[in-house]
Amino acid sequence: MSRAAVGKMPRAGLTRVKRNSKFSAFLTNPKALTGVIIFAIFTLTAILAPVIAPYNPAATTFLPMLPPSAVHWFGTTNTGQDIFSQFIWGTRTSMEVGIEAAVISTLIAFLIGGYAGLMGGWLDALLNSFSNILLVLPTLALLLVIESFVHNPTPQFNGLTIAFTSWAWGARVFRSLALSLAQRDFIVAARLSGAGSIRILFSEILPNMTSVLASNLIYSFLGAVLFEAGLAVLGFENVSTYSLGTILYWAQNGGAMMEGAWWWFVPPGLAIAVLGTSLILMNFAIDQITNPRLREQKRQRKANKRTGRDSGVNQQPSA
């Protein structure tokens, strides 16, 4: 083996370890792993809905108000629909809305916040006050006002309105990050190389924000799922579509509470809660991996534990 090759090997090895470490840290983190597994189950359910759902969710061919059984896992509604089929299709809708709203709102947030932070000056003042205004408006009230103008909105349309009303927090975060990056020399150097603002935003600033971007995606996903369910329960969604929210809407209208038909409202409610938990868990993990201060605490705790045990065994104080 030539000398150059020998010189090259350990370096390349080091690099690989370093680059993998973030990814493997994410998967060995128990919180993240739990979150990822739960989220994967939901994603699979959404993708495979036509395969998993045993019946047509709209078919009213069964006996009404059947409790859970081997035939109807989650029982039936007061009009004789299979709730498990509705649940599977509803999960698909909710996931769709979540992804749609998360992507769109993160994109808006990044464009507005990132551009404002990069450019500074009056443009920053203008865009920032715009996001501040949106920030102080109560989102649910705003959504209700918008929805009241629309006849029978589809879940997808609701996802869109949620995206357009909930990007402001993200914009604030992206703005403050872009503000601090914009002063760095490599941004000035990129400008001197002839790069325009949009190129700097996407090519120089965006790759420095990936963890915040991921965390913003996750949070807006969660927010969108919750808002969409809320709107549906309140009746601001086409009730002939199936989402976790519309199932709850029909459960309420069909008297599930009065009849004691817990199988009708518990599964969709629980699904929303579990999905939310998985997203929060993943976000915690991202936070822990990318925020050195949180990592430091953990390391310190471990170190304390170790020294505590050591001092029990070994009484000699180290110099």
Binding site: R184, F186, A189, S193, G194, N208
Partner: protein, 330 residues
Amino acid sequence: MQSSSKVSQLNQTDNKLVEVENLVVRFPILDNGHRAYIRPVDEVSFTIDSGEVLALVGESGSGKSTIAKALLRIVEPQSGTIRVQGNDVTHWRGGRLTTYRKNVQMVFQDPFGSLNPVRTVEHHIAYPLQKHRHLHGRALRDMVGSLLERVGLTPVEETRVKYPHELSGGQRQRVAIARALAVNPKFLVADEPISMLDVSIRAGILKLLNELRSEFNLGYLYITHDLASARYFGHRIMVLYGGKVMETAPSHELIRNPSHPYTRLLLAATPGSGLDGPLPETSNQAPSLIEGRTGCPFAERCPLVVDACRKEDPPVVRLSEGHEVACHVV
């Protein structure tokens, strides 16, 4: 404005690369709730020829970096003119500014901050080549390779895929130099390019900059607070204090025959100056940069101060060919 620049274009001698006249940069500050201005650069004039190195020396806050930023049009000059190759670029914008920056590039002080941590070496150098020289594919790869080789980053194939955190400070600075060279500039601003590097590799970087100077006939504005490197690398030295030029002279003349009290103070503060005892100054207060201040900014610290120093701007005295000093008592 247009016609006057044309007239002066005719008047100038032909090999002046950069001409700066009465450059003023000011920044707004809040002074007891009132808006006031400071002038970190106050009526500074200088010229740089092709292939010449002008070393700009001064302590922190003397306006060295602000002059650099004004030259690159990162900060907007308040008044004065910057002419590069006869073009008045002081207020160019948009497309013309991009064209201008093809000719003028910068090497930054901090090699850790001047490279994007999530981008490879190749990315940093390839972009200006794509943008300004419209290179693609194989030609682009080859050009990046030859630039890396020129700045001494070999083996090239190994270097180009590396990230900044995998390089040492000196290697990063070489990447920054390669990036600046990529657009084929006529003029380089080097803002303390060696001050954050290990002492052992400083000479290597200066040597590289010097080779590039003679190879591409580059003009340099070399900013430093280190007189030794200014003397080694600069053809002429310009001493700055409180935003004003104190003394300009050919390097050896300035070191051998310092005339301004501030230059003498700087030389006395250099290790190995032979001075034993306290420095020849009366205070070590930072100069006032506030707009509307009168007199010499160095008056508060000057051991030779006379009444006129606090009232009137000192006249520029020409001592010999190329040696000018702004002082009342010289």
